[in-house]
Structures are given as structure tokens and as C-alpha cells.
């Protein structure tokens, strides 16, 4: 079976190259024959890569330790589902999965969008070039089907990193890759539009749902990564501005800016060049992010180690794609100039422009903070590293205006917003914000003004969103229909707008949670059995430790009684594990979670004298982040949900 996979992977490379050429030939000659060759090429490519992927899954399921990749990432003692997940636990396998996703997207996109005859051949070509690149990496630099020399084949393998043996970690890479690779579809349509000269809004309109889909998965993937860090890594936080986290956050920033600025083109026929730039940047950052993680370009706690050739190939491809895209765009610049100009700085389109600037500013800071350490050795002679405080200190000042804009932007009218009208609409939200800000400031003290300001702005945005729903529902109810029916009608007739508000509400919840960090408390204490420590109003009493007699790991579990105002609340059982095969320890925190705050306990060590060293956190409002994530995803689904009655869909 593994031989079959090996040859399928090789053949796929040739098919990808042929498809790229056929697609370009179809695009240039406008010949239907070439176009159908290109389409079939994409389907064949999909078939071959699927076959290779299935072969690798089979090798993991049957533990074919002849394959170096299987031997490095699986072990007999692992349960089947983790053996399957081990496929994306290492470099070569996750690269094959990534390639499979890009070709699956290619096949799906040319099937669903087959009516776009002018664009599809070029789309085939662009996506085939993309697949060809990853197949070159797979076949030459990092092949999951490489066999070990016979004398090195052993009866068992290394096993998957135990930190990755967690349900969230099984799906987090899948979700993240679904998002990152998904941006290849809008990118391919944009490049196809530039190459074919079909510069209207077609490419943007047909890829709207694809973009939202990819963006939604990327958002979930980032949040799951945070959740995993919180539940498994055991340092009390969910985001550390690690280069790998930044690598997935950067394309999200560019993609979010794009989703906003396309609305300006749809409504006002402006920002056409800018939208091309943004989608190019988004996909470029998706590739760039994978590159810096996989090629070991930056110093990170969890980058894949890689050979030099890998990094050179990857950097070459990203540069090539960027140059090709920019050249194609420059060739069309004159045709893309908009006849419309910004009419007023107080208008919806100006709001979107400022939104884009702020997103770009965040992107610039994150990009600089992630990459400067790499170049600082040349510039300053020493390697400079930026800690979370650097990022937080910077980004707060860009993120808060952006949050404010989330509240004000939707109230601005297109073209020209009348200041009087705006003032009238803003009275209630600003009053709510001031009230929340001052009340919290009085309660928590002036030292926490920044967190209070965040919550104040959150109140402002919530009030404007509520106001928007209230006004629109009331208007619809004039027809004599009930409130729920009016609300449903609202989502039907203006799905994008009201779904978007739900997404914004999710963002508000996220910010409420982020600001909670300001009030985090932590304590490190060594307790003898029976001893206790207090973080008012909580008291932690260390009872005892029990051994963990599990198959794959041993270690201890501490039993801690948690009291609030001296009332017993729960028993917390943080664990300290030792995975035998991998010789790796791991701390599993115990969390008592409410909407107000999380009580988070890590068993740092059981000392030789029988005492336990505990690290205890009280983290306010963390659950708002997960709630925000869910709301955010729900809103995105509302925006992209296909309505049978929608005129655009009915035509398609």
C-alpha cells in the first residue's frame, strides 16, 4: 500500500504540471478542448492525492513501521484515533494533508463555479501550480513515504508527542488547514480575473461564500489553538504571541480587512485595486505563515524542524507567487481605476477605509514583532526578542479604536452621513459606555482604567447593535407580523448586515474576555498535605496525592478541595503525568470555570517530602472568550447560510 501512495504522489506532480499548462492554454486560446483537459486534470489530481492520503492513513492504521514517518509519529500503544491524528502530527504528513485540501478545494470550486467559463481555466491553472509546488516539496524535500533502511526498521515507533494527544489537538490542525487552504479559492479567482481581464465583481461575488467559509474555519482554528494552550500547556493563558500563533493570526487580519473592503466595491465600485492587493496579501500570508512554522525560520516553542532546502524552496515559491500576482495587477492597474471618489470623511466607505488601515496597522506590528528577531542579528548585531508585553502594549492602542469603529461604523450612511442624525443615534450608546466605564472605574479603581475603557467601549458597541436590531424589527413589525417573524425576515432580506452584527457581538464578547486579563491573579505555593492557601474569596486545601496507574503514562494527581467564602465548591484534580515511551512529563491543569472567572490550578511538582507545589490562577472572564468565539462563528454561518428565496442563489 505504501508503494501505491509513493507512486500516486509522484504521478500527481506530473498531472499537476500538465493541468497548469492546459489551464493556461485554455485561458489564452479560449479553446473549450483545453478547458476540459484542465478540468479533468484537476479531478485526476484530486483522485491521485486522495489515493496517496488514504495510503498514508492505512500505513498509520496498520502501523507500517517501514515508513520513517510512521515510525517517528506512531507507536503500538496509541489508540487508533490518535494514530490517525498522528498523520498530521509531523511535517511530511501534515504537508500531504495540506496538499489534499488544496486539491479538494480546487475540484470543489471548479464544480460549483463551473458556469464562470472565462475564469475557470485560469483557476485550474493557478490551483494546479499551487498543488505542484506542494507536490515538489513532498516528493523532494519531505516525503511521508520514505522508507527506513532495512537494518533500521524496528518493531515499534517513537509515538506522537503526548502534548498533542488531546481531542482538541486532533481537530485543531484540521480546522486551521481548512481555513488557510480555503483562501486559495478566492486567491485563484482573483488571479484568474487579472489574467483573463474579467475585472468586474464576478470573481469577488462567486467567491464570497468560499472566503467566508475559509475565514470562519481560520477563526475557529485560532480559537481552538488558544483553548488547547489553556487546557494542556498549563501556563494559565491562551495566547502568548508565539510566532506560530502569529503565523495564523496574520492571514486572519488581512482576510478580515478584505471581507470589509469588498463591501465598498460592491456598493460603491471603489477600492478595486486595494481588494486585489488584500486577497493576494491574505493568501500570501497563509503560505508565509506555513513557511515560517515549517521551515524553522523563526525561533518558536513549537515550530517544525526542517532541512535548509525546504526553507529555500518555500521562500522561492512565496516570492514567485507574490511577483506574479503583483505583475498581473500592475498590468491591469489602468483598467481598475475607480470613477468614484470618497465624497465625505463621515461616511460608511470612509469608515471601512479606516477599518482597513487599523487592520493593516495591527498586521504591521505583528509582522514586525514576529520577523524582526530574525533580522535583528544583522541590523543590531544581537538577537532581539519581543515578549507578550511588547505586543499587548502596542496593539491595545490599535485594537480599541477598531472596537469603537465596530460600534460607530454601521451607523454611518453610505456616501455622506449627516452629523445631526449620527449624533442622535449615538446618544444612547455613548451614555451606556460612559455609565459602564465610570461604574467599573469606581468599583475597580483608577489603576484598571484601560480594562474599564475596553468594557465601556464594549457597552457602546452592544448598545448600537441592539439599537440596530430594535429599529429594524420595529419597522418590519409595522406590517402586523410578530417580533420573531420580523427578526427572521430581517436575516433573510439583509443577511450580510444582520449576520455581520452577530459577528460583531462575538467580537465584543472576545474583548470583554481579553480585558479580564488585567485582573488575573496568580500564586505559587508549596503545601504539605492538609495545608491551604487563599486568594479571596477562594481557599484551596491540598488533601492528598494519588498515583496515576495508566497504561501510557504514570504520575500523580493532586486532590484539592476548593472553597468559596468557606463553602465547599469542588474538588480539583490537577495532574502531573510522565509519558513512559516518550520520556516526557506533562502537567494537566484543573479548571473550575464560571462566567465570572476561572479558577485554574497547576500541579507544578510533588516534592520528595510529600508536599505539593501548586500554581493557582484566578482568571476573570475567560469563558467570555469561548462564548465570543461561538457567537462569532454563529454569526458567520448566518452570513453565509444559503437562502432558497435569495434571488442571487435562485439564479445560480
Amino acid at each position: 500500500m505504501s508503494d501505491l501512495g509513493f507512486y500516486a504522489q509522484w504521478l500527481a506532480l506530473f498531472v499537476a504540471a500538465a493541468t497548469a499548462i492546459a489551464g493556461a492554454a485554455a485561458g489564452i486560446t479560449r479553446s473549450d478542448d483545453w478547458a476540459s483537459v484542465a478540468r479533468r486534470g484537476v479531478y485526476a489530481l484530486f483522485g491521485l492525492v486522495t489515493a496517496a492520503l488514504l495510503c498514508l492513513f492505512y500505513a498509520f492504521a496498520t502501523l507500517d513501521f517501514q515508513l520513517e514517518f510512521v515510525a517517528q509519529n506512531a507507536a503500538r500503544s496509541m489508540a487508533l484515533h490518535y494514530r490517525i491524528a498522528a498523520l498530521w502530527g509531523g511535517q511530511a504528513g501534515s504537508l500531504l494533508l495540506w496538499t489534499w485540501m488544496t486539491v479538494a478545494y480546487a475540484a470543489a470550486a471548479i464544480t460549483v463555479q463551473r458556469r464562470e467559463r472565462a475564469l475557470v481555466p485560469w483557476v485550474c491553472s493557478v490551483l494546479a501550480v499551487n498543488a505542484a509546488f506542494f507536490l515538489i516539496l513532498l516528493n523532494f524535500a519531505s516525503n511521508p513515504f520514505d522508507k527506513l533502511p532495512p537494518q533500521h526498521v524496528m518493531s515499534d515507533g517513537n509515538g506522537l508527542n503526548p502534548l498533542l494527544q488531546h481531542p482538541v489537538m486532533m481537530i485543531h490542525p484540521l480546522v486551521l488547514y481548512t481555513g488557510l487552504t480555503g483562501f486559495s479559492v478566492p486567491f485563484a479567482f482573483a488571479l484568474a480575473a487579472l489574467l483573463s481581464g474579467q475585472l468586474g465583481t464576478t470573481w469577488m461575488r462567486v467567491t464570497r461564500r468560499w472566503t467566508l467559509w475559509a475565514w470562519c474555519f481560520l477563526s475557529i482554528g485560532i480559537l481552538l489553538g488558544g483553548r488547547w494552550a489553556y487546557e494542556v500547556l498549563g501556563w494559565g493563558g491562551y495566547w502568548a504571541w508565539d510566532p506560530v500563533e502569529n503565523a495564523s493570526f496574520m492571514p486572519w487580519l488581512a482576510g478580515t480587512a478584505y471581507l470589509h473592503s469588498v463591501m465598498v466595491q460592491e456598493k460603491r465600485d471603489m477600492l478595486k485595486i486595494w481588494n486585489f492587493v488584500l486577497i493576494g496579501l491574505t493568501y500570501g500570508l497563509c503560505l508565509f505563515g506555513t513557511m515560517i512554522t515549517r521551515a524553522g525560520l523563526v525561533r518558536s516553542v513549537h515550530a517544525f524542524a526542517q532541512t535548509e532546502i525546504f526553507g529555500v524552496l518555500f521562500a522561492g515559491y512565496v516570492a514567485l507567487l507574490a511577483v506574479a500576482f503583483i505583475a498581473a495587477l500592475l498590468a491591469r492597474v489602468d483598467a481598475l481605476r475607480s470613477p468614484n471618489k470618497l465624497e465625505s470623511v463621515v461616511s460608511r466607505e470612509a469608515g471601512f477605509v479606516i477599518n482597513n488601515w487599523l487592520f493593516m496597522a495591527i498586521l504591521a506590528v505583528v509582522f514586525f514583532g514576529t520577523l524582526y528577531p530574525k533580522f535583528s542579528t544583522w541590523i543590531q548585531g544581537r538577537e532581539v526578542l519581543f515578549g507578550p508585553q511588547w505586543f499587548d502594549g502596542y496593539l491595545v492602542w490599535i485594537a480599541l479604536p477598531l472596537l469603537f469603529l465596530t460600534g460607530v461604523g454601521p451607523l454611518l450612511a453610505w456616501r455622506y452621513a449627516s452629523p445631526a442624525n449620527l449624533r442622535r443615534q449615538l446618544v444612547a450608546p455613548i451614555a451606556a459606555a460612559a455609565l459602564v466605564f465610570l461604574a467599573l472605574l469606581g468599583w475597580l479603581g483608577v489603576g484598571e482604567w484601560l480594562a474599564c475603557l475596553t468594557w465601556g467601549i464594549a457597552a457602546l458597541v452592544t448598545t448600537t447593535i441592539a439599537g440596530e436590531f430594535w429599529r429594524a424589527t420595529k419597522a418590519k413589525m409595522r406590517g402586523g407580523i410578530s417580533a420573531p417573524a420580523a427578526l427572521r425576515k430581517l436575516f433573510r432580506t439583509n443577511q450580510q448586515r444582520y449576520g455581520g452584527y452577530v459577528v460583531h457581538l462575538g467580537v465584543v464578547f472576545l474583548f470583554i474576555g481579553f480585558a479580564g486579563q488585567a485582573l488575573d491573579t496568580e500564586r505559587l505555593e508549596n503545601l504539605a498535605p492538609g495545608g491551604s492557601l487563599e486568594i479571596a474569596p477562594y481557599r484551596f486545601e491540598y488533601k492528598t496525592a494519588v498515583a496515576l496507574p495508566k497504561q501510557h503514562y504514570g504520575g500523580a494527581e493532586a486532590r484539592i478541595a476548593l472553597f468559596k467564602h468557606d463553602e465547599p465548591l469542588a474538588t480539583l484534580t490537577p495532574e502531573k503525568r510522565m509519558y513512559w515511551l516518550e520520556q516526557q512529563p506533562s502537567s494537566i491543569p484543573a479548571v473550575y470555570s464560571t462566567f465570572g472567572e476561572d479558577v485554574y490550578v497547576i500541579l507544578t511538582a510533588i516534592e520528595p517530602n510529600g508536599s505539593a507545589t501548586l500554581k493557582v490562577f484566578v482568571n476573570p472572564l475567560v469563558n467570555w472568550i469561548w462564548l465570543g468565539g461561538l457567537t462569532f462563528v454563529f454569526g458567520t454561518v448566518l452570513v453565509m447560510w444559503p437562502h432558497p428565496s435569495h434571488p442571487q442563489r435562485a439564479a445560480a
Binding site: 538577537e383 505559587l524 500554581k615
Partner: protein
């Protein structure tokens, strides 16, 4: 004033604020220098925030539970790969919270300051995460 000029002014104000923030960020703990132990021993200065990379010298880890302190020595090259323990840096870490991967021979990064006495006061201790273990397995030739 044309709209383009207004936008340009807005963009300039944002860019200016961002630069000002950057300039005002040079305070402590915002950023640190990263050096290998060899580089640090050549040109490290007392009192400057820094991160130093090295390997835990074998048998040097001492946990003082009562004083909530862990002391150990860091050497430049991996002891398992034959790195000598000479010129090791004495590290005092004022916490008991050691990372899971912290053990004899582990690749570590210590963050903190050098004291005039020549010991390193660490405020943060990082140990290498094992998704690097493809490379580690290759380096050490273990099991495969």
C-alpha cells in the same frame, strides 16, 4: 481640503502614534536580547535583561522548596553530545515552577539578568518543546 488629503492626514496621525508607541516601549521587560551562552559570556553586561540559550549541566538541578528557588548550571553544548561542563553559568530561578521538559541535559532558555556576583537571576525559564523531536531523534540517533 480634498478627501485624499484628509485621509492622508489621518493615516499620518495613525502612523505617528504607532511610531511614538514604539519609541516609548523601550522600558523593561518589553523586549530582551537573545544570546547563546558563549556569546553571553563574551559580551554580556551585568543588569541587562537578556535571554540566554544553553543546556542544563548534568546533576546540577537543586530544588529548594522552602526558599521557593531552583538552582542549576547551564553549559553551552549538549552534555549528551559530549559538551563539557566547563564555564557553566550558575542560574538562580526564583520560583518552583519549572517547565515539564526541564531536566538534566535539557535545552533551555533562561530569561533574566546577570548579577555582579556572576550568578544569573532568572525570572523565566523555557525548555525546548518536543515538536522539534524529529530533529532530535536524528541528532541523537535514538531508537531509529
Amino acid at each position: 481640503m480634498s478627501k485624499g488629503v484628509q485621509i492622508a492626514i489621518g493615516a499620518l496621525i495613525i502612523a505617528g502614534l504607532v511610531m511614538w508607541l514604539g519609541a516609548s516601549q523601550s522600558g523593561e521587560a518589553r523586549f530582551t536580547y537573545f544570546q547563546t551562552l558563549g556569546e553571553f559570556q563574551q559580551n554580556g553586561t551585568v543588569g541587562e535583561p537578556v535571554r540566554v540559550h544553553g543546556f542544563v549541566a548534568l546533576g546540577t538541578i537543586e530544588r529548594d522548596v522552602a526558599a521557593k528557588r531552583v538552582t542549576f548550571a547551564v553549559q553551552e553544548h549538549a552534555p549528551h553530545a559530549g559538551g563539557a561542563a566547563g564555564h557553566a553559568l550558575r542560574v538562580e530561578y526564583a520560583s518552583l515552577e519549572t517547565p515539564d521538559l526541564f531536566k538534566d541535559g535539557a535545552e533551555v532558555v533562561v530569561e533574566g539578568k546577570l548579577t555582579p556576583a556572576g550568578t544569573f537571576h532568572a525570572t523565566n525559564l523555557l525548555a525546548k518543546c518536543p515538536s522539534k523531536f524529529e530533529a532530535m531523534a536524528k541528532e541523537q540517533g535514538t531508537r531509529i
